[in-house]
């Protein structure tokens, strides 16, 4: 008897069953109604490198959290049946000016009613990435959000410095 068809996995495909963006959005809202978060696989490159294609992201209900500059939100596109996960650049009352980190065009001002939730966790290859914890505000989170545009280039510089240092140490050992 094949009644329960089993875990059907991601929003895109699994066992021949696919979930469209409107279905995923409805499920997010249903899960948030119970005060729970929703975990699923991100698709696309618009938030690279902060969120890469295939990363597992968790969308949490906003509850008392007011989105602010630097936060990454999941939201309904105002004109298309599409869900996007992009970053807040400015806020004005209950409107958020949003854009993907890797996009050349802005999404524009998105009203609060289109916001599905806040990205609270990002996992890559089974390991959680560093991500600000907005449910427990701290000065470190404030600092991170204030300077978020600097982190990708800063990380690239640090990786380069680390590689050079490693190769220098390796050469010294060989000589």
């Amino acid at each position: 008897m094949d009644i329960i068809q089993g875990a059907i996995g991601t929003a895109s495909e699994h066992d021949g069953i696919s979930l469209s963006a409107p279905v995923v959005m409805e499920l997010i809202e249903a899960v948030h109604e119970k005060g729970a978060s929703f975990r699923f696989q991100a698709k696309g490159y618009s938030m690279t490198p902060a969120i890469r294609d295939g990363d597992i992201i968790t969308v949490s209900p906003l509850k008392e959290i007011m989105p602010r500059r630097g936060d990454v939100l999941a939201f309904r596109h105002p004109e298309r049946p599409q869900m996007l996960v992009h970053r807040v650049l400015h806020t004005q009352g209950r409107k958020y000016f949003i854009m993907g980190d890797n996009c050349s065009e802005v999404d524009g001002w998105i009203p609060a009613e289109n916001i599905l939730g806040l990205i609270s966790k990002v996992e890559r290859r089974g390991r959680p990435r560093f991500w600000p914890n907005r449910s427990a505000p701290s000065s470190w989170v404030n600092f991170y959000l204030l300077l978020y545009p600097l982190w990708p280039p800063l990380r690239r510089v640090l990786v380069r410095v680390w590689r050079r240092l490693r190769s220098f140490v390796s050469r010294r050992r060989q000589s």
């Binding site: 329960i4 068809q5 279905v23 499920l27 929703f38």
Partner: protein, 105 residues
């Protein structure tokens, strides 16, 4: 673990699941540690499963569900009972449904 059930038992959806009927399909997401996980735990029911699921309202006993389905479908009561017990055991094992106590008095 074998789950034993009797015909006068009543089952209903667990409080820790979210269900939605979307585009004709019943989708069930268990909430584990406050998270609904599309990657690990998402279930959908076939037509038979949906018919049984809709009757698992926390008020009807298994016997009542079997009687109602026997009146609605052209199948023997034995076959329906087997399907109903099968899905209830499976859903209970996955903690998607739980036993509800009948109101007293």
């Amino acid at each position: 673990m074998e789950i034993r059930i009797t015909l006068n038992e009543v089952f209903g959806p667990s409080e820790d699941v979210v269900t939605r009927k979307i585009e004709g399909e019943t989708i069930i997401i268990p909430l584990v540690a406050g998270i609904g996980d599309l990657e690990d735990d998402l279930y959908t029911l076939n037509e038979t499963g949906q018919a049984i699921w809709e009757k698992l309202d926390g008020e009807k006993s298994i016997q009542t569900i079997v009687d109602e389905l026997s009146a609605e479908y052209e199948a023997s009561a034995e076959e329906i009972l087997e399907d109903v017990v099968g899905i209830i055991k499976e859903l209970a094992r996955r903690r998607i449904i739980q036993e509800k106590s009948l109101p007293t008095g």
